[in-house]
Symmetry: C2
Amino acid sequence: MMQLHRDTRILIVGLGLLGGSYAMALKKKGFRCIYGFARRQETVDYAFEHGLIDEGSSSVDEDLIARAEMIVFALYPTVLLDWVKQYGRLIRPGTVVTDVTGVKSCIIDPVTAALPEGVEFVSVHPMAGREVGGIENADDGIFDGANYIVVPSDKNTESAILLCEDLGRELGFGRISRLSPAEHDDMIAFLSQLTHCVAVSLMCANEDDRLVDYTGDSFRDLTRIARINDEMWSELFLLNKESLLRQMDRFLEQVNRMRELLSQGDREGLREMMRTSTERRAKFDKKKK
Amino acid sequence: MMQLHRDTRILIVGLGLLGGSYAMALKKKGFRCIYGFARRQETVDYAFEHGLIDEGSSSVDEDLIARAEMIVFALYPTVLLDWVKQYGRLIRPGTVVTDVTGVKSCIIDPVTAALPEGVEFVSVHPMAGREVGGIENADDGIFDGANYIVVPSDKNTESAILLCEDLGRELGFGRISRLSPAEHDDMIAFLSQLTHCVAVSLMCANEDDRLVDYTGDSFRDLTRIARINDEMWSELFLLNKESLLRQMDRFLEQVNRMRELLSQGDREGLREMMRTSTERRAKFDKKKK
């Protein structure tokens, strides 16, 4: 059974914000064999000059792939799928592969299928990020106290899962937990994709230019995330379509219920919904650090 | 034509957070004849001891009403309506009456009708507040940079409107503007009541106890206002029912549109909504202080 130690050879494919932050955290912990792939040579040079990697390449270096005992894919979901289809066969049996993807059901089976016999894929969602991308914004501080969700499939062995959990601990995550792919996707559809859908819908619902002159904090808070990377988020929405549709329907049901109560002048019904909301939301404040 | 000056006699009816903050701001500006009514004698005593009022009463003191040249009602909407129906007849002709109510169409006509001939009511919505109430939380700093919306009716004279705008300036508001009752109520329905409706609906849509363990900042931001004073907000919702129903329908239309695009896998349609949202939201950041 593989154990994570300072000489474990880890290849990070994709040196953007997350990949770069993974590399930074591991080098700070004293790991001595961190390899990195990036599309652009400048990125590899930057990573090397800043001590984030020990070796790297802007091409698919078969020797580094063969040496790696663990591979972390820090790529957009569709780019990850393309990569494993094209190069997955180069990965040596015995290697443990993991990722950072924010959607799971649509990723786990195709990635697993594209990998050779003996290569195990343990999918992980590290809930960390920044509003800016790129290796120059890499910052291992984003993992501090953050959630690291391991999403095992029925093909995974306990030892590979434990190895990926160890990686999360080494990176400095605050809370390491496990969810099934369906649980994960429903949770994320509700907490992340639905909130973006709500913010975008609010902004699209009113084109009055004077709004900005009268707005208060509550509207600003609700629409902060309405400035959105449309390329990335449309991809995430579509990749998690079934879960997101389900969560949108649950939300629409509640808004329609509130509309109905208001339309009927049912004050007690409105108050009851507000009390439920107040009670549930109070728990979030208690947990806040 | 009445001019606002340091010896203008102003009676504030209701010494809660807003009434107390009005009194504090005016006393700091050197006004010498600030009177206050409150339901409880302790409130009047507190205001007097802290130099917020020059005279006050916990009963409806006819002498103070007769002396007042300007009356500010800092009461909940339904309490305001009850008050003017019961005591409005005591107000002297020539007095200018104003308020702090957050809904307008349902307030202006009944209040105007309850006042004697020669008493003019100019309705105002000062967009300022805190999450805590009561005179002990009074703070004139809440007016700094805030919006002060004057909502004239067709019965108002320009001179009374200007007097109320002067009051807003003396209180220290950042932006003084005018809207018609319908414009005001639609604006507030969208910016304030709809946002609370959305936050409450989000909390009611999912009862999974584990949410709190996985939540990120975007969900926290969207539901901060989901801890809600159900007595006050159910009243506001119902008093602004027609506007709020209209705004809810516009919002529902957009969520349903997004749902449809997602369900059809129309990525370009989703991206277009996201780009509209991003463009509109960007204007809010520019205006932020």
